[in-house]
């Protein structure tokens, strides 16, 4: 009975939904990693310890292109820097005590866990939502990465499966909520970022153009501060987010 009532709680339901959806991305990551030349062990290591999807895809994109690995790592870290912002907000919401608990929780601070946790009405559900999403998503992410990596070694033509479109689709899904809710300046920053990266791609080693695109974010320093609803990007958790935008209130 307890298990059933737990399953009915919105916190757990959201987490399971997000966890399953992310599994598909894990398959894509495993495939992309193997295609880029990572061994299954390296792919699984990345999913287990880097554990932040956009950074992982960005890094292996550079590896696949035979680009400068340092630029690839910097790009991954820049993308991972948004997790610092999530952490700042989650620290308030979860109110974690104790060094070990905080150290363990830190690893789970990503788009999805933040989105689901901030969508909850109170601290107890936020903690439950954070932990369940962390565990379900983490497990599914690592397992599907392994499956994708192993499967790729047995599939001869990855292109025929259309998996090269998965990377852009994932980044698009992450960016979409910001574009939908943002104003002209949001579109300007995104457009300028894309334009800079494209213009620089033929000239600079892979990885560097994307780094260069970060300078488009300087536009945000001009004029009034941009409003960001909810925890920025939340694939699969968009529904949960829209039902409750109080996450913003938590920060301010």
């Amino acid at each position: 009975m307890k298990a059933i009532s737990l399953l009915r709680s919105p916190a757990v339901r959201d987490s399971l939904g997000v966890g399953v959806a992310v599994g598909a991305a894990g398959l894509a990551f495993g495939t992309a990693a193997a295609t880029a030349g990572l061994s299954p062990a390296q792919a699984v290591f990345t999913s287990m310890f880097m554990f932040t999807g956009a950074s992982q895809f960005a890094l292996i994109g550079v590896v696949a292109g035979g680009g400068n690995l340092v630029a690839g790592a910097l790009g991954a870290l820049l993308l991972g820097a948004r997790n610092t912002l999530y952490g700042l907000r989650l620290a308030d919401v979860l109110d974690l005590r104790g060094g070990l608990r905080r150290a363990l929780a830190a690893h789970g601070v990503i788009d999805e866990t933040t989105a689901v946790a901030l969508a909850q009405p109170d601290r107890a559900s936020a903690r439950l939502a954070f932990t369940t999403t962390y565990v379900v998503l983490g497990t599914s992410w690592v397992v599907t990465t392994l499956v994708g990596a192993l499967a790729t070694e047995r599939v001869s033509d990855i292109g025929a499966l259309g998996l090269d479109a998965v990377g852009p689709a994932i980044f698009l899904a992450l960016l979409w909520p910001r574009l939908r809710e943002g104003g002209a300046r949001t579109w300007l920053i995104a457009g300028l970022g894309a334009g800079l990266a494209l213009a620089a791609t033929p000239l600079l080693p892979p990885g560097v153009p994307v780094l260069l695109a970060a300078s488009a974010a300087l536009i945000a320093l001009v004029g009034p501060e941009m409003r960001v609803a909810g925890p920025a990007a939340a694939p699969g958790a968009a529904d949960a987010k829209e039902s409750d935008n109080d996450g913003e209130g938590v920060r301010s």
Partner: protein, 104 residues
């Protein structure tokens, strides 16, 4: 071997970035400039990644791949229809695979 070093270092860096947020002094959030820039960085980076990956060609060249762009278009359509993440990703792969099977 070099790849392992890069993977381990990047993983460690990504972890420290996450930890820094949870453990940081609250007043960091009050720094408006830092907050503004950090909020906007993912916008620029994600847009750049979409563009570069969608138009990736041989080596450093850009190339138009109709099948892949069809998949990206399908992802946009799915997002506009508020489809869940899973559907967006599957639509992109399925449309690209379909167009490629048709010889595009």
């Amino acid at each position: 071997m070099t790849l392992w070093i890069v993977l381990v270092a990047t993983a460690a860096g990504c972890y420290l970035l996450k930890f820094a947020g949870l453990a940081a002094p609250r007043r960091l959030l009050d720094n408006a400039w830092l907050r503004r820039f950090a909020t906007a960085v993912p916008l620029a980076l994600l847009a750049a990644l979409i563009a570069v990956e969608a138009l990736r060609g041989e080596g450093q060249a850009l190339a138009w791949d109709t099948a892949r762009m069809g998949g990206v278009g399908a992802a946009v359509a799915a997002l506009a229809l508020r489809a869940p993440f899973l559907v967006v990703v599957l639509a992109a792969a399925a449309v690209t695979a379909g167009l490629r099977a048709l010889g595009l």
